[in-house]
Amino acid sequence: MKNWWKFLGIGLLLLASIAALRIPLAPALVHVSPDRIAPGTTDITITGYNTAFTSGALVKLVNEEQQVCATSVSVLDASHLTARFEVPAGMKANLTDVSVDDLIYTGALFTEGLGAGITSAVCPETYPAPASFTFPNRSILYESIRNLHFHVPMWFTMIVLMGISVFQSIKVLGNNSLDNDLAAEMAARIGLVFCVLGLITGALWARATWGAFWTNDVKLNGAAVTGLIYVAYLVLRGSVQDAHKRARLAAIYNIFAFMLLVLFLFVVPRLNAIDSLHPGNGGNSGFNDLDMDNSLRSIFYPAVLGWILVGCWMYDLRVRAARLANNLDR
């Protein structure tokens, strides 16, 4: 059973992709209307996402830990309700949070008629909803958080394939084998396929999240430089005729470039720590606990492993086809 890893790759990819598309987002409050309150009787319509509002919903305003309970709540459907408040004058902060049961929309309402603070009402206690397996619901990302399991594995696969390419290049320097050189070239080519896929999917996701297809971000620069380096690698290969000379020149460039690339991806971002839009604190390639919770993680790692195995399979096919072509030419 020497092909077990191919089955493993496809299996992981299948399970992770189904999970990535099917697991619901956590419920959240996404919109309130109107978005400002003044002292007096006010009706506020609250829109939720993936929520299950029931007629017993407990709605309150929270301003600097001082609460205002809703006097009446009318639930329109599972994700819309209207609550009436007697808004007192003299609240402290100019942003008021809205809370429905255990969901909180922070800073939802601009507040007028500020003052030294109000006497907090004691609203009925709300109990946290039973925990369920959901993806976190982040503003501006919403459902597109699922892309984590499709877009990011492209980069992991690319780096692994480039690593294989460099490994084969190191072997070329040791033994001058043309077969290792072939493997190095094919790994770089498959890596470039994943680079292109990562760039295009990233551009689409960036357009929907940050409003532009390309932003000046350390990760995007890293991706662009990786692409340029390996295109240059292929150009170098194309411009040398003699096979042994080509193998050695390409191997030297590959090792040199990969080491500098590693520096660029993992050291330089730490210097320019402030200006990354990506999660993981300024180009830190890892994800810390704040950025990725366990539900995302438990799907993300199988997806990454699945894509890496599929990438290796593509590389395997490409090398075998190229070897066959070489044997036929001979």
């Binding site: 919403y142 597109s144 499709f150 689409l204 072509a325």
Partner: protein, 68 residues
């Protein structure tokens, strides 16, 4: 050459006007329904990319078959 130039001029005016116009078809598609269409787009791009790779691999192997 001139058509190319006027095409780019047209393109740049479109891009320049896009900022203050009503949301374009792209924005309304991407931002609607909790941004799920972004995921649809990303998955479609990946499947298309792998498909193009498979197609080229297919051609490559056809060539090998013809040679042997």
């Amino acid at each position: 050459m001139r058509t190319l130039l006027s095409f780019f001029l047209l393109l740049s005016t479109i891009v320049a006007n896009a900022q203050n116009a009503a949301p374009s078809w792209l924005e309304s598609t991407l931002y609607g329904s909790g941004k799920i269409n972004v995921v649809v787009g990303v998955v479609a791009i990946i499947i298309l990319g792998i498909g193009i790779w498979l197609w080229r691999m297919d051609r490559r192997i056809s060539n090998l078959e013809r040679k042997s």
